[in-house]
Structures are given as structure tokens and as C-alpha cells.
Symmetry: C2
Subunit: 370 residues, 2 copies
């Protein structure tokens, strides 16, 4: 079931029920503007990752500022985007299984929809499904540029798979997917640059091989919030897939260098539900209100409070100053450790500005794992 | 939005779309039966924790086997249970804030609904709301029996708060909430027993204090899957709040001793979406398909496969045997590290038996954090 919204538009922020996923609309819009400004005047296209925000409302704000469309990880995310008005979606991921391939090809009749491959049999399955639906799918070959997740190895293996794609009547070889996900969170900027330099070299080698094979590589898509300026300056990447820049989180705020231009715009509003001892307070938000895969949330503006641990519906705060004014009923804004899986716990964004609730945005791709 | 179900009733399990939250109905029913059998013939009441399963379908199976009702952590969970046919719900947690208190008192007009307290002002707020709704709420005083989360200290502080509750016309002092959550996952059975012995001593001291104060303590509620036999044998606990026993998970399966009678009945079915190298495979289930707060999932029946790491929509598997038959399109059953927050990611249980989908159960309290 879609859960009830924790607020009504127009109410003061002090009346938002908790836990709630709150967007500081001013900070959010500044983040959107900064990314747009940072790519303005270049040939680079911004294709923000919708796996972060899961909402066509946010996607359309990105498109309005120049984004070419979005990328998604799942067909069901892509459906939520297309049915929410986004006209161009890249599924930046491999799609396996007859049911999902049919949905992908069906969706490609309604909007521009691309997909990635790293396996010859998957290419054949994709081709057969595309032809059954009468579409010609743009396909990127995913290259492993150092993340060691999906993707064929750069150079010859990638060129061979691209050749196979280009030979299928239902498919169109469109370029390379080259995302170095593991580099995004390397805090040291020089080490991060080294990881991306390596990725760029792998992409360049592959593009040269494609050119020699007579396979023009129109698109090289990749990059994230932690590295996007490196790929943008590379001369080989054509699309930037950053996602977290819209909201940021504790983990990305630890990354040195340019991501610092983006502000924390996303918070889990929580209420102190217990103050049992002088050094301990408990809030009503736990593992079902924020994700802890990248560590505990921070408490905005409160260096005297530390989130020590979380259980299903509680987080225990350590009070560094036992005389700190923390009372039952007080409200605290938590900055999630990792924004993407935190957002996926909610059905609604509560957009606030000037102390008032201005918008409730449905998170229509919440739970869209299929 | 409620997500589409990943299966249809009647289809073979090989056609379930992935990732899907799958219940082995035979194992699940054996778990229900074993817990019921283990408390049969005692004066103990089973009040299973619905925060685990989030579904009135499961709750009613528990009630059919003798459970007195369920407990919940949130008012919205309690609403889902009552509106799904459960007649007796304890909110085993403190509820703070006018909106939530109103919903709690309103719900108490429709079913037997109790709640916990650990704060004098909260007691006054609860009383005022109960009176406004014309109900008399049964209230448990939560005692800190060693988990150091919510709860007043045992003995005199608990007795004082109980006295305050008993003096409110809108409230009825019903007993103690005494859950030692941190003891549940102590793997060594003797250390676990020591932690629970300490909890039992704190409860006993408090019950004696209540008796001296003329405050009869009808209910002592607590215990979990890892410790329930200790509380059951204590002579002071009257209600068992175990939740995870219905499904189990990797973490609880590491706990020595009696929880081993319960079987893994819950799985995240995933598909191999990439097999890029001899020692690596990638499945289509990640941080949005299982929770990693208690560690990575295990692969059922496959000691040759280890889940190394997870990102939003991927898990990377290490193949201990590079010749292992793992191909793109293969399906694997992952046992979640922690069942409760994993279930909270899904809208549907896919119940399977004999290789066929037998039931789709809606997880109506998914996302119910308010």
C-alpha cells in the first residue's frame, strides 16, 4: 500500500509527522542549478541517475534545466519515469529474463529507451524481443572500467560485443556504458582522480578499437557525483550520470573536492521519543527510516549529538553534553548516511521552504526492483 | 505506489520475476507450529511481533495457532493489523506527538489497543487524548532491562511511573514492557542466558516494588526469538514477543541453541544478470532488495558462492570454484542477513509450495513508520 503522507501542503514544518523524508527546496534547487551550470557550454549531456530520487517530479526538474533524460537501473524504474512524463530513459544496466525484456521493448514504443549489455546470449534475447515489438533498441555495451561489477573487459572484448550488437536488426549499437562506481566514494581527491584516469584510459582504448572496427561510438555514458568533473574534462565521455548531487548524504559529504559544491538537501525528520538518561536520547526513526549501509546518519546542526546505533524503529543518540536541551517531543533532522536506499523507504517527499510545507511529491518508483 | 506483484498464483516458481520476496510455506507453517507447541500447556501468551512480518495475513495465522494478538512498534503498523482483522494489538513502544496519539486513541475504539510509556509528560498527554476519545487505554511501563534504549530504570523509577499511570482516569496500568533486544543476537548461549537472567532479576525487583505499592502487575511482556525460552521459564514473564521465528535470517541462524528449531522460510529470489569473469557473478538484487545492517545475505544451498558486496541494485558474488555452473539467467535464493528491514522493502510475499506459487500476500504495513 502507498503509505499516508506525513504532512499536508501549507502546514508549518513543526506539524510534519515523523519520521518524514524532507527536502529543503531552496538547497535542492541550488544543487540542480549548480550541476546545470557546471556542464553549461560544454558538449556534455547530463543524464542524471533516477535510481537516487525515484521520482519523475525530480526528473522533470532536471530535464527543465537541460538534462537529456535520466538513467535507471530497473525496467520498473524506467516505467515510472516514462509514465511520469520523462521522454528519454537509459536503463544503465543489464536486463535479463523474458518478462522484463518484454516490458523494456514495450516501453520503447512509448519513449526513447536504451539499455546496456555485457553478454552475447543476452544480446540475442534482446534482439528477438525488440523485433517482436517492432522496435530498434539503442544499446550500450557496458565496459568494466575498474568497478569490477558488471561489464565486459575494455578493448577487444568490448569491441567484439559491440560488433554483435551492431549486427542485430532489432538493436542499434549506440556506445559505451562506463561507470566507475567504486571510485565515487574515494575520499582523497588525488586517489579518486587516479581511479578515474584509469577508467578514462580504458574507455579511450575501447573507443579506438571501435573506430578501427568501423563501429562509431556516439555515446560514452558514466560518471557520478564524486567524479563527474574528471569524466567531463576527459574528452571521451559524452554523458554524465550523476545522481546523488540533488540531495547529498553523509557519505558524499566526506568526499574531498568538487562535490562539496552541493548541499545537504535531504533529511529524515525524527522526533525524540525517549530521554531515559542524561547521556542518551532515542528518536522514532531507525533501520526502516534510513539506510545504514554507508554508516549512521548525522544530526543536522547538532555536533553535540551522535547517532550511536539503530534498530528497526529506533536510533539511540549519545549526548556529548549531558546538559544538552534534548526533550521528549523535540524534532531533529537526520542527514542519511546513503541517500538512495533511504529514499527507497518512503512514498512521499515533503518539500519545505520558509518553514512551511510547499509540496508533497510521490516517490512513484519506490520499491521498483523488477 | 504499491508495486506490481512479481508472480501470479499458480505459476511455477521458475517463472517468478526477480527480485522477489519468497516464503517457503511448508517451512513457515512448521515454524508457526513449533512456536505454538513450545508454549502450549504453559500460562504464557504468545504476542508475536508484527514489525517482522508487517502483514495481517501472517498475524491471523499466528492468532489461529493461539497467539493472543500481536505487538507493533508504530501506530500505523497497528492500524494495518486492526484493519486486517487482528483484534488485540500492543504498541510495544512509546508514542509521541498529538497526531499519533489521536490515531492511537481512535484505534482503541475499534480493537483492544495498548501502548508503552517511559515519560511522565507522555503519560499526561496520553491520558488527555484517551479521555477525549472516551477510551481507557491499557498501558505498560517500559523498563530498561539491559538494552539501554528506551524505558525507565527498574525498581523505584518504574514503580513511580506506574503509580502515575494508575492515577489517570483515561489510562489503566496493565504491567511492564521488558524487552532485552540486545541479548537476542548474543551467539553464545551461556552469555545470552546471563543477559536474560539479569533482565529477569530487574523485572522481578520491579514487580515486587509494584506489589508493595499496591499496583498489581498483570502483564510482563518481552522476549525475542533468541531468548524466548529463558523468559518463558522465568516465572515472571507472561507474554512472549518473538517475531523473527516465523522466517529466520542469517543473523538469527548464527545464534546457538534453541532458535535452531526454526527454519529459514524467507528468501530473496534473484537472477544472475552478469557473469563477467570466471570468479565473479552479479545478481539483480542489492541494497533495495535486502537489508545489510546485519551483514550480507547467504546463498541458500550454495557454499561455493559468497555475497561479497552490494550496491543499490546489484550484489557481487565470489565463486569459490571458478568452474561452478553459474550462468546468466540462473536463479539463486538469498537468505537475508536481517529479515525485518528486508521485508519492509517489499509489497508482496510470494508464498510457494511444491514448486508452485500458492499465495500472494500483501505486506500492508510496509513503510508504516508513522
Amino acid at each position: 500500500m502507498t503509505t499516508r503522507p506525513p504532512a499536508d501542503v501549507g502546514m508549518p514544518v513543526t506539524e510534519i509527522d515523523t519520521p518524514a523524508l524532507v527536502v529543503d527546496l531552496d538547497a535542492y534547487e541550488r544543487n540542480l542549478d549548480r550541476m546545470a551550470a557546471s556542464l553549461a557550454g560544454t558538449r556534455l549531456r547530463l543524464r542524471p541517475h533516477a535510481k537516487t530520487h525515484k521520482s519523475p517530479v525530480v526528473a522533470l526538474h532536471q530535464v527543465a534545466r537541460g538534462a537529456v533524460g535520466v538513467c535507471c537501473q530497473k525496467v520498473s524504474e524506467a516505467e515510472a519515469m516514462v509514465y511520469g512524463g520523462v521522454r528519454n530513459v537509459l536503463v544503465s544496466n543489464e536486463i535479463v529474463g523474458a518478462r522484463k525484456l518484454a516490458r523494456l521493448a514495450g516501453l520503447a514504443r512509448q519513449a526513447e529507451v536504451g539499455v546496456c549489455v555485457d553478454d552475447p546470449q543476452n544480446v540475442r534475447d534482446l534482439d528477438a524481443t525488440a523485433r517482436a515489438f517492432g522496435v530498434r533498441l539503442p544499446v550500450l555495451v557496458e565496459v568494466n572500467v575498474g568497478a569490477n561489477r558488471c561489464g565486459v573487459e575494455p578493448g577487444e572484448p568490448a569491441v567484439a560485443l559491440a560488433g554483435q550488437v551492431a549486427a542485430q536488426p532489432g538493436l542499434r549499437f549506440a556506445g559505451l556504458q562506463a561507470y566507475q562506481g567504486r571510485a565515487q566514494h574515494i575520499q582523497d581527491i588525488e586517489k579518486r582522480r587516479e581511479a578515474i584516469d584509469l577508467a578514462i584510459a580504458k574507455v579511450r582504448e575501447t573507443v579506438e578499437g571501435l573506430t578501427r572496427a568501423g563501429l562509431p561510438c556516439e555515446v560514452v555514458s558514466g560518471a557520478g557525483t564524486g567524479s563527474y568533473r574528471f569524466e567531463a574534462a576527459s574528452g571521451v565521455y559524452t554523458e554524465i550520470q550523476a545522481g546523488s548531487y540533488v540531495f547529498m548524504d553523509v557519505d558524499y559529504k566526506k568526499v574531498e573536492g568538487f562535490p562539496s559544491e552541493f548541499e545537504n538537501a535531504l533529511f529524515v525528520l525524527a522526533t525524540v521519543m525517549s530521554r531515559p538518561t542524561r547521556d542518551r536520547a532515542v528518536v522514532d526513526a531507525g533501520l526502516k527510516a534510513f539506510s545504514v549501509d554507508s554508516g549512521m546518519p548525522a544530526v543536522q546542526g547538532r555536533r553535540d549529538l551522535e547517532v550511536q546505533r539503530a534498530s528497526d524503529e529506533h536510533a539511540v543518540l549519545l549526548l556529548r553534553d549531558p546538559d544538552a536541551p534534548v526533550r521528549v517531543g523535540d524534532r531533529l533532522s537526520l542527514i542519511p548516511g546513503h541517500c538512495d536506499p533511504t529514499i527507497n523507504l518512503y512514498d512521499w517527499y515533503v518539500g519545505v521552504r520558509g518553514g512551511r510545507v510547499e509540496a508533497l511529491w510521490p516517490i512513484t518508483a519506490r520499491g521498483a526492483v523488477l
